[in-house]
């Protein structure tokens, strides 16, 4: 079974010839429409997660459901296959269940709105957008429970549901849903904003059709898809070897004592088709760190990382999907069996980018390989009742160091996620009972290299009310790896200093930690891996980093640079140290520097990270 689209005007859209310039113009107009979706959302949304951090993703698709503009690829085709209902003009569909939309959204807090676009009774396109809601109910505030073992514990599940029927808001449904979340007002506004954004884009699609004609609009979208196909075919043939390449990386732990979990991917080309095979990836986890990965989404990641090389202005779309074959074994951490918990998927999602970057870059490490750092988007939740007895609930996304790259050093404390920004501390302090006493890059945390990895951030939160905190972070055990001779970046840590001065190290993933007024949390993120030979870095650049407090005088030695008392480069001592270090290292520089094997890293975990190593996962088959 599958969904049917009810049209009052069923004249089929024709494929017509469209001149190249018109295609470019329509492409431009669709690009603007997509940007307008973001603009409308940011202005009308209310939760800090969406309005300040931009945790949301827009899309416009053709009538067949192929994404023509957007970021994370289309899920409409598989969605329509499983959605057994009639869809008509004025309907707006809401869902958040990964298991019912083929993982178009990958955990329940992401609410997805889907709008069919009609013109004069004829279905011409789709618009859709999803955004991360502040709360989805369930076990813990923020609805990303680490301790969940099934999706039932992660809050309300919304199967594909008509939020609007023929233009009428289904208020009962909306109230039922909002009744189940801790932040109904934020969610109400954010959902309103998602709908407004999709409606705006729908209006633009209709306007473009009015201007150029429905057939031209329809045909142009097909041409745009073809353009992507053509470009990607070329890229694949040019960059992807027939010889298989493989890469393995890890999720450090599952928050319940087991880890690390392996993600393995092998890539090769057959003709014009690239295959990504995740055979060898570990089975699903007991906790919520599973990432139910939509294959199309992975294709999109792959495409957008590579297409920039040939035409950065192109509007990236689904056109090339048949050129990529993604194989994910069922029952693995990337394709868990229902009803596995999914909410903590952010770690594996980030790790996928490191894996893909490695696979694509290792063939031309000097031009295309970045170090690791796209490891995570760490979360902090803090909730409770303030002095007025009002419920507060803070959700913060943290940022670490951008890895060293072929183009240069990685920026300190920046975002790897598209469009994300930090929330101004003064904003947080004025709306939540806490004070941010430190917000600075961690000295020496970026991996040494010809191009330095970006430093991670240390954010010190002083809690001004009793409450609960939860933390999600990664790269506390395995290192953000360096490449081409570059060093690993520093791993993440979390330390709680109690009002009485006692200190405790917190695990990277923990929840329901009681904090008291006056307690201080140091939330330290990871540093990016280094890129290239640190001993080849201009000593003057190292000196400047020391002067700027981004590298210490001691840390400069990792670059083989010795500074004198005045912090000037001691050229003679530097030359000698570098000669010694180069001799000790030998001539064979491995492409990847993981900071040791998993066994070696685990052996010294307690000593180095203040946390016992996780137990190697046991899987029940």
């Amino acid at each position: 079974m599958s969904a049917t689209i009810k049209q009052s005007n069923s004249t089929p859209l024709k494929n017509v010839d469209v001149d190249g310039v018109t295609v470019d113009i329509i492409e431009n107009a669709l690009r603007n429409a997509r940007e307008e979706m973001d603009a409308v959302l940011f202005r009308t949304a209310m939760s800090p997660g969406i309005r300040e951090q931009g945790d949301c993703f827009p899309m416009i698709a053709n009538k067949d459901g192929k994404m023509v503009v957007g970021q994370f690829g289309s899920f409409i085709v598989p969605f329509l296959e499983v959605y057994e209902a009639e869809i008509e003009e004025g309907d707006i569909i809401l869902t958040n269940d990964p298991y019912l939309c083929n993982a178009a959204v990958s955990h329940l807090p992401d609410w997805l709105v889907l709008v069919p676009v009609f013109k004069e009774g004829r279905h011409i396109a789709w618009t859709a957008m999803f955004g991360h809601m502040s709360d989805n109910g369930g076990m813990v505030p923020g609805s990303i429970p680490i301790g969940a073992t099934t999706i039932y514990q992660e809050g309300i599940r919304i199967p594909p549901t008509k939020l609007y029927k023929k233009g009428e808001l289904q208020e009962d449904v909306l109230e039922l849903i909002l009744h189940n979340v801790r932040t109904p007002q934020w969610n109400r506004f954010d959902l309103n904003a998602l709908v407004a954004a999709c409606k705006t884009a729908s209006r633009r699609c209709v306007e473009i059709s009015e201007r150029f004609g429905e057939d031209v609009f329809h045909s142009t979208m097909q041409i745009m898809l073809d353009r992507n196909h053509m470009a990607m075919k070329h890229i694949i043939e040019m960059f992807i070897p027939e010889e298989p390449r493989e890469f393995t990386d890890y999720i450090c732990d599952d928050g319940m004592g087991m880890g690390p979990y392996k993600i393995k991917c092998t890539m090769w080309r057959e003709g014009s088709v690239v295959i990504f095979d995740f055979d060898g990836t570990d089975p699903q986890a007991q906790s919520s760190i599973n990432f139910y990965m939509n294959e199309d989404m992975f294709k999109m990641f792959f495409g957008s990382f590579t297409i920039n090389i040939v035409d950065p202005q192109i509007l990236f779309n689904d056109g090339f999907y048949d050129l990529v074959d993604v194989r994910i074994p069922q029952g693995t951490i990337l394709k868990p069996n229902y009803p596995a918990a999914l909410s903590g998927r952010t770690h594996a999602l980030g790790r996928i980018f490191d894996v893909m970057g490695a696979l694509l870059g290792m063939g031309a490490p000097d031009q295309m390989l970045n170090a690791a750092g796209f490891s995570d988007s760490p979360h902090l939740f803090y909730s409770g009742y303030d002095d007025q007895g009002e419920w507060f609930q803070l959700f913060q996304i943290g940022f670490g160091g951008i890895p060293g790259r072929p183009v240069g050093d990685g920026p300190d404390g920046h975002s790897l996620w598209p469009g994300f920004t930090n929330v101004p501390n003064e904003f947080i302090e004025s709306y939540f009972p806490l004070r941010i006493e430190k917000y600075e890059a961690i000295i020496d945390s970026g991996g040494a290299g010809l191009h330095r990895g970006g430093n991670g951030l240390s954010v010190a939160y002083r809690f001004l009310n009793d409450g609960n905190i939860s933390i999600h972070d990664e790269r506390w055990l395995t290192y953000p790896w360096g490449v081409n001779g570059g060093d690993t970046g520093l791993r993440s840590t979390k330390k709680l200093v109690r009002g009485d001065g006692s200190e405790e190290w917190l695990p990277a993933k923990c929840e329901d930690i009681k904090v008291k007024k006056g307690d201080l949390l140091y939330f330290n993120t990871w540093g990016g891996g280094g890129w290239g030979d640190p001993f080849a870095r201009d000593p003057e650049l190292v000196r400047v980093d020391v002067e700027r407090g981004l590298v210490s005088a001691e840390g400069a030695k990792r670059y083989g640079v010795i500074l004198d008392d005045q912090l000037n480069v001691d050229s003679e001592a530097t030359e000698k140290l570098r000669a010694d270090l180069v001799a000790a290292r030998g001539v064979d520089i491995p492409v990847f520097n993981f900071g040791g094997s998993i066994e070696e890293i685990k052996a010294v975990a307690l000593e180095e990270t203040h946390m016992p190593p996780p137990v190697t996962p046991q899987f029940n088959h």
């Binding site: 001149d19 310039v21 470019d24 113009i25 492409e27 431009n28 603007n32 307008e36 409308v40 940011f42 202005r43 009308t44 209310m46 309005r51 300040e52 934020w186 506004f189 309103n192 407004a196 053509m230 470009a231 070329h234 890229i235 990641f301 957008s304 990382f305 920039n308 040939v310 035409d311 192109i314 940022f399 951008i402 790259r405 183009v407 240069g408 990685g410 920026p411 300190d412 404390g413 920046h414 975002s415 598209p418 469009g419 920004t421 930090n422 101004p424 501390n425 003064e426 302090e429 004025s430 004070r435 941010i436 006493e437 917000y439 600075e440 890059a441 010190a460 002067e547 700027r548 981004l550």
Partner: protein, 687 residues
């Protein structure tokens, strides 16, 4: 007789406009700019315009000036060496910024962060802390600060010190105390505090704004002071120099030098002000402006002859919290380069520009790549055989060769390619116009479209067709419109404070008295320049949102209205606008984020100058016959001399109207008339 002089310094030319305040007579002059010291070019221009017009320099009472000195200092990275003092724990406030990497998914791979305007080696911290309730958490340790500052000073080479403490927008006591300490240590350089420059929430934005202000200050104040001296020497002691601010108001030379961060958009604001000047007088109060230059196009929306002002200014990568006319810029101009990526065969135009050097191919200054300008030459819109006012030679063959490369790459004909380039560039300007209109809830069909700048009149008619904003207006002297804007605006200043209160918790009395305080503060700089309160218009603004929203809407009102209707005046206006923008309103939960007073000097009205009817016939105005290409076919056309046209003539398209500094294209099925002020008014024949 009294005269005022408008001066606009551009990259290539300095434009001047002299207006007789009583008769409305105008004179213009164009002299080469002198980038090494722009004031030389300005003085050359003043000498030239006085000589040509026969006006006695001492009769020029006011000189009004739009300048890009501040903008250029930022864009070229040639500002002052600025040191920064932050709250302990916040020394990386600029280094981390908002953590944003532009460029979408994978954008971080190629993002290069620009050097900080206050480098980390010159950034120190003070042990102090203010809470989010405005109460002291940790007192300022002045002794420790003094020692830190002395160590900083010992490094040498510091031109300015800025101080920005967390939560100082609520209570600036620590900033003021630290400033006192710093002024003792650094006696000879300016020490600025963020609560003076921009007392608004958000530590990064406030720090960046304060630092940018200090960064451009030495260059701007040197320039302004030199110019002021030179103007007074040449035009007489009593001559006043004023500088156009980003928000379209004028500042005295003194005030401009103190807060140069307010000048970053001075240039574009001049164009907008000039367009408003002509259109308002001609009875067009609601207009969309597009100012198309060589590398970019600036667009703005004007309602009721008032430009929308936003609380943010963007120059290159630098974003500061300073009010500016809401001008959106797209990287599409006459010099934008067209290219065809090999794999996708798409036609792309810009954002790369040929600039002045090597320039478009047609000017034979070394440029060979096809530009928008070359496409205009190929199509016949920029006639290669008609020259007015000693413009640069145009080589059509060179343009053809350049555009042919695009045609070949796409596998289409030369003319088709040239039209394609024009269509693409028009589309991207159309996108910018939509951004300020449709996307803000305005229907462009309720507006008129005003095209100016060097290349604007070439594209104005075509953009009229895209936006359906009629009539399309090309004001007189479209290339010197900025100078008109400079010459016709008034001195103003404003004072702002962060409020963050629910409207329901604010009494009418409190709001009135808080605004009154701000009015006093805003009047100070005008008073210092000898402008009395009676000679000023005062208006107020609040920035409002529904509690929890990120977006805010600015509501304008005057004291009378607030006294009559109370706070509901503001909440009603907000609901109305929110509904227009986003199709819904809430009716409660209004949060007042910011309150503001604007004080503006009343200005002497300039006489309208009507265009003389020369009695010439349309034929008399024809310079010659030519042809151009439009919508797939060639048209025979007349080229008219704009200087000869008058308000009884109507030019029927297809036609070209040419004047010293620009060329207007009138498309088939359209006509252009001239109004009594000299505006060219283009309409479709069927309207």
């Amino acid at each position: 007789m009294s005269y005022r002089l408008g001066v606009d310094v551009g990259g290539t030319f300095t434009d001047l406009l002299l207006i007789n305040e009583e008769s409305g007579d105008t004179f213009t002059a164009k002299v080469p700019s002198t980038p090494e010291d722009s004031s030389i070019g300005v003085l050359n221009g003043i000498a030239r315009i006085c000589e040509e017009s026969g006006v006695d320099p001492t009769e020029v009472e006011r000189v009004m000036h739009g300048t890009t000195v501040a903008t250029n200092a930022v864009l070229t990275g040639k500002g002052a060496s600025v040191a920064l003092l932050t709250t302990k724990g916040y020394k990386h406030v600029l280094q981390v910024a908002r953590s944003f990497c532009p460029g979408g998914l994978g954008g971080w791979v190629s993002y290069i962060k620009k050097p900080l305007l206050a480098p980390l080696e010159l950034t120190i911290e003070a042990d102090e802390r203010m809470g989010a309730d405005g109460e002291t958490v940790t007192s300022l340790d002045e002794a420790a600060l003094q020692a830190e500052l002395e160590a900083l000073k010992a490094k040498g080479g510091i031109d300015a010190l800025t101080i920005c403490f967390v939560n100082s927008y609520l209570n600036n006591a620590h900033e003021v105390a630290a400033q006192k300490v710093a002024q003792k240590v650094f006696a000879d350089i300016p020490v600025s505090i963020s609560s003076d420059i921009i007392p608004e929430m958000q530590e990064y934005e406030r720090t960046e704004t304060t630092v940018v202000n200090a960064y451009v200050q030495p260059e701007v104040s040197l320039y302004v002071n030199n110019l002021q001296d030179a103007v007074q020497k040449n035009l007489g002691e009593g001559t006043q120099l004023s500088i156009l601010r980003s928000d379209g108001g004028l500042a005295s030379a003194r005030a401009a030098a103190e807060s140069p961060v307010n000048l970053l958009m001075s240039g574009p604001a001049g164009g907008v002000a000039g367009a408003v000047y002509f259109c308002d007088r001609a009875g067009y109060k609601d207009i969309l402006t597009f100012d198309m230059g060589g590398t970019s196009t600036d667009v703005a929306l004007i309602q009721d002859s008032r430009a929308r002002v936003r609380r943010e200014t963007l120059v290159g990568d630098v974003r500061v919290r300073a009010p500016s006319v809401d001008v959106r810029t797209v990287g599409a101009g006459g010099g934008s380069i067209a290219f065809v990526p090999e794999l996708t065969k798409a036609l792309r135009v810009g954002p790369e520009s040929a600039g002045a050097v090597p320039g478009p191919a047609c000017y034979k200054k070394g440029g060979e790549l096809p530009t928008v300008c070359d496409a205009n030459v190929v199509l016949g819109y920029l006639p290669s055989d008609v020259q007015l006012g000693g413009k640069m030679e145009i080589d059509r063959d060179a343009s053809i060769a350049a555009v042919q490369t695009v045609a070949d790459a796409m596998g289409i004909g030369l003319m088709e390619a040239a039209e394609g380039i024009i269509k693409i560039v028009n589309e991207s300007m159309f996108g910018a116009l939509r951004l300020v209109s449709v996307e803000q809830g305005y229907d462009p069909r309720n507006f008129s479209l005003v095209g100016f700048g060097g290349a604007g009149p070439l594209h104005a008619n075509a953009l009229g067709i895209l936006t359906d904003a009629w009539p399309v207006i090309v004001p007189p002297g479209p290339g010197v419109l900025c100078a008109y804007g400079d010459a016709t605006t008034q001195v103003q200043d404003e004072a702002t404070r962060t409020y963050i209160k629910l409207a329901s918790d604010v009494s009418d009395f409190d709001l009135l008295s808080d605004l009154g305080e701000l009015r006093k503060k805003a009047s100070e700089s005008l008073l210092k320049d000898g402008i009395q309160e009676d000679d000023c218009d005062v208006s107020y603004q609040v920035d409002m949102r529904y509690a929890g929203q990120a977006f805010q809407i600015t509501i304008d009102f005057v004291e009378r209205e607030l006294k009559d209707k109370g706070v509901s005046l503001i909440t009603d206006a907000f609901d109305k606008e929110h509904e227009q923008l986003f199709t819904f309103k809430l009716g409660d939960g209004h949060e007042i984020l910011m309150i503001r007073a604007l004080v503006k000097a009343k200005s002497a009205q300039i006489e309208n100058k009507s265009l003389a009817n020369t009695g010439l016939s349309l034929e008399d105005c024809v310079i010659e016959q030519s042809k151009f290409y439009y919508a797939g076919g060639w048209y025979d056309i007349n080229i008219y001399d704009r200087a000869k046209l008058h308000d009884e003539l109507v030019v029927q398209g297809p036609a070209i109207v040419i004047e010293m500094d620009s060329t207007t294209v009138v498309l088939p099925q359209h006509n252009a008339s001239v109004d009594s002020l000299g505006n060219l008014i283009i309409n479709p024949n069927n309207k």
